[in-house]
């Protein structure tokens, strides 16, 4: 299994479980500040202890994203970062770091490519899986089939608002992991810790051993440490993106984000229960 991209992701989760920690998956929009610099920033994050990545394919109308990731998407689009260029960034990150990479996007660009064609391209780029923020389980069937056909994973979501019937449907679809939404809201930094994490993790765990990855509203080492005992992975997005947007150069961004990811990575070692 380990010689495939999806296997690479599964080994990452297995390793983290063995080591009693939670995998750290930073998010960054592809192509900010530019394509080459974003590859360097991913490399710096790998050096600093990231276990894998979520790479955002910029989209003009991201309903699940707050102002920071929206601004990053707009900036990337202004620089001409298309889906194909973003997938090329993913290929370079996979090459460069050897870490599993999830491609994150929205439904419409996938449809425009053709669902099968998109998943084929994502697979060719070396992505381990695809995250589609506005794809609920009820519409997921053709996407699951396309992912299975090329042997990569599709991620499905569980939110604090998700009821038991929907959670059952998510689990039954056998996603590569469950993206457990830690906060009711769009992506963005929160000052307080989520109080949804333990409960949501328990509800998923009582049904399945599927890997659980927390995301949305996790932006500090403290929040990572609180989430770590309950899941297999944690995604930190806005806090990374903001540092990149605020940096004056790609090199400064790589330094700054590298330092930040090192702190997060230490926090992710918090012992699992």
């Amino acid at each position: 299994m380990t010689d495939t991209a999806q296997g690479n992701l599964q080994s990452m989760f297995a390793r983290a479980r063995e080591q009693g920690r939670c995998a750290l998956l930073p998010y960054l929009t592809a192509g900010i500040p530019d394509a080459d610099a974003s590859v360097e920033i991913f490399a710096a994050m790998a050096q600093a202890g990231a276990d894998g990545f979520e790479v955002g394919i910029p989209y003009a109308d991201p309903l699940m994203d707050g102002p920071v990731i929206m601004a990053a998407g707009e900036a990337a689009l202004d620089h001409g970062i298309t889906v194909d260029i973003a997938l090329d960034v993913i290929a370079r990150v996979v090459d460069r770091t050897g870490k599993p990479v999830l491609a994150m996007t929205y439904v419409n660009p996938v449809l425009r490519h053709g669902i099968d064609a998109f998943f084929e391209k994502a697979s060719d780029a070396g992505a381990s899986g695809v995250i589609i923020a506005d794809l609920p389980v009820n519409e997921a069937e053709p996407f699951l089939a396309a992912a299975a056909a090329v042997g990569i994973g599709l991620v499905l979501f569980a939110a604090p608002t998700t009821d038991d019937a929907r959670l059952d449907a998510v689990i039954a679809s056998e996603p590569v992991f469950v993206y457990a939404v830690a906060e009711v809201g769009v992506t963005g930094e929160r000052t307080s810790a989520s109080d949804n994490i333990a409960g949501l993790a328990a509800r998923i765990r009582s049904r399945s051993d599927v890997p659980i990855v927390f995301g949305v509203g996790i932006s500090t080492p403290e929040q990572v440490a609180l989430a770590a005992p309950h899941g297999d992975g944690v995604i930190v997005g806005t806090a990374v993106v903001r540092r990149v947007l605020d940096a004056v150069s790609g090199a400064e961004a790589a330094d700054e984000v590298g330092r930040f990811v090192r702190e997060l990575s230490i926090a992710a070692r918090g012992h699992r229960t």
């Binding site: 109308d61 309903l63 439904v107 660009p109 996938v110 425009r112 009820n138 939110a159 604090p160 769009v186």
Partner: protein, 394 residues
């Protein structure tokens, strides 16, 4: 064939559905069952009827525009949604949705608005029921529909400017959806047209079809009230058009024409003709026709009329287009402004710029329609547009 309701997945044929963040999905299911329950409840209909009659002023009249009819050589009738309380058809939907909100026990309402008519109608219904109301409105629209911004604030609503994208209706809908992702526990999103994820397109159609149902009674073929040969309505998101078309869709002998915004002209690429020029995709939670580039990025629309300045359209219109139940055409900014003046001068009725698009199509096709009974859905009044049009002549 016209569908009573979308299928189990919320689809009208290939269109519709619910493509939304998981966080919202349970609220959409809750809304669907609350709507189904209310719509089957005579008490809900009684409450709604009473408000539509005594508060909104329904039924709205059908007016035979004789002077303009004579000039155009046809029989022009206006369905006077401009005479509904707050000045547009939007109130039909907001009163019903806010009534439903109180049934669901949610204390807070959010809405998007383009022309500001839906924002005003939502703020009005919230004032009536004592609910908190937040309206998202694009920066550009705040500028061109300043009167309605002031009206919303008078009614106690908070108007939040949206600066992302082009600062128009699409961005306002997105901002409202983002708010709803965070506030879904205590908040209902009163969407302003037959757009958005299931069950909104179906529910808003049900709340707007009162327009066409009234028209059937008003123009019933009795002496002095000929049945329509053709019904024309402007299409932004498509709610006023759906409201007047739906009861007639599939009827032999009635031609239905939806008029989109051609903006600066279709060939300039600066328009809002999603059905005419767009292609299927997903926008704001529904599969529908939309303006997009070859990478699947949604494009910015353009129209002089804020209510038609939208790169998508309700999914049931996409279905009607494919089924051939409705024809969709478009009219430029310039022609709409000419029609705006013409109705004002000839009939003493200042139409909304949105509605003026419908009239402009009729004027353009008058020769072909000679002698026909033509109904225009006069979706709203033009007070909100007076400043904008006046500025064009300064």
């Amino acid at each position: 064939m016209r569908l009573e309701q979308p299928d189990g997945r919320g689809r009208f044929g290939a269109y519709g559905g619910a493509f939304a963040p998981e966080t919202l999905m349970p609220a959409l299911a809750e809304l669907e069952s609350a709507f189904v329950d209310a719509w089957a409840d005579p008490a809900f209909h009684r409450d709604l009827e009473r408000l539509l009659t005594t508060y909104v002023g329904r039924p709205t009249p059908v007016y035979h525009a004789e002077r303009l009819s004579e000039e155009l050589g046809l029989h022009l009738y206006l369905k006077r949604e401009d005479l509904a309380h707050t000045g547009a058809h939007k109130i039909n939907n907001t009163i019903a949705q806010v009534l439903l909100t109180t049934r669901m026990g949610k204390p807070r309402v959010i809405a998007e608005t383009g022309a500001g008519q839906h924002g005003v109608a939502t703020a009005t219904a919230c004032a009536l029921f004592g609910l908190d109301c937040v309206v998202y409105m694009g920066e550009k629209d705040i500028e061109r529909q300043a009167l309605n911004v002031y009206r919303m604030r008078l009614l106690g609503a908070e108007v939040i400017p949206v600066t992302s994208g082009a600062g128009t209706l699409k961005d306002a809908v997105s901002a409202a959806l983002r708010d709803w992702v965070a506030s879904v526990g205590d908040t209902h999103y009163v969407i302003g047209s037959v757009v958005g994820p299931h069950p909104f397109p179906w529910m808003v159609r049900e709340f707007q079809k009162v327009i066409g149902e009234e028209l059937r009674n008003q123009l019933d073929g009795s002496p002095g009230s000929p049945t329509p040969d053709i019904i024309v309505a402007p299409v932004g998101g498509g709610s006023n058009a759906m409201g007047i078309f739906y009861p007639y869709a599939g009827d032999e002998g009635v031609r239905l024409v939806g008029v989109e915004a051609a903006g600066f002209g279709i060939r300039t690429g600066k328009h809002g003709a999603s059905l005419g020029e767009g292609s299927p995709g997903v926008l704001h939670g529904a599969m529908t026709y939309l303006l997009q580039d070859r990478h699947g990025q949604v494009l910015e629309a353009h129209s002089i009329s804020a209510g038609l300045d939208y790169p998508g359209v309700g999914p049931e219109h996409a279905y009607f287009k494919d089924e051939g139940l409705v024809e969709y055409a478009s009219v430029t900014d310039d022609d709409a402004v000419v029609a705006f003046h013409r109705l004002s001068r000839t009939e003493g009725i200042i139409p909304a710029l949105e509605s003026a698009h419908g009239l402009a199509w009729i004027v353009e096709h008058a020769a072909e329609l000679s002698g026909a009974t033509v109904v225009l859905n006069l979706s709203g009044r033009g007070d909100k547009d007076v400043q904008q049009v006046a500025a064009m002549y300064d």
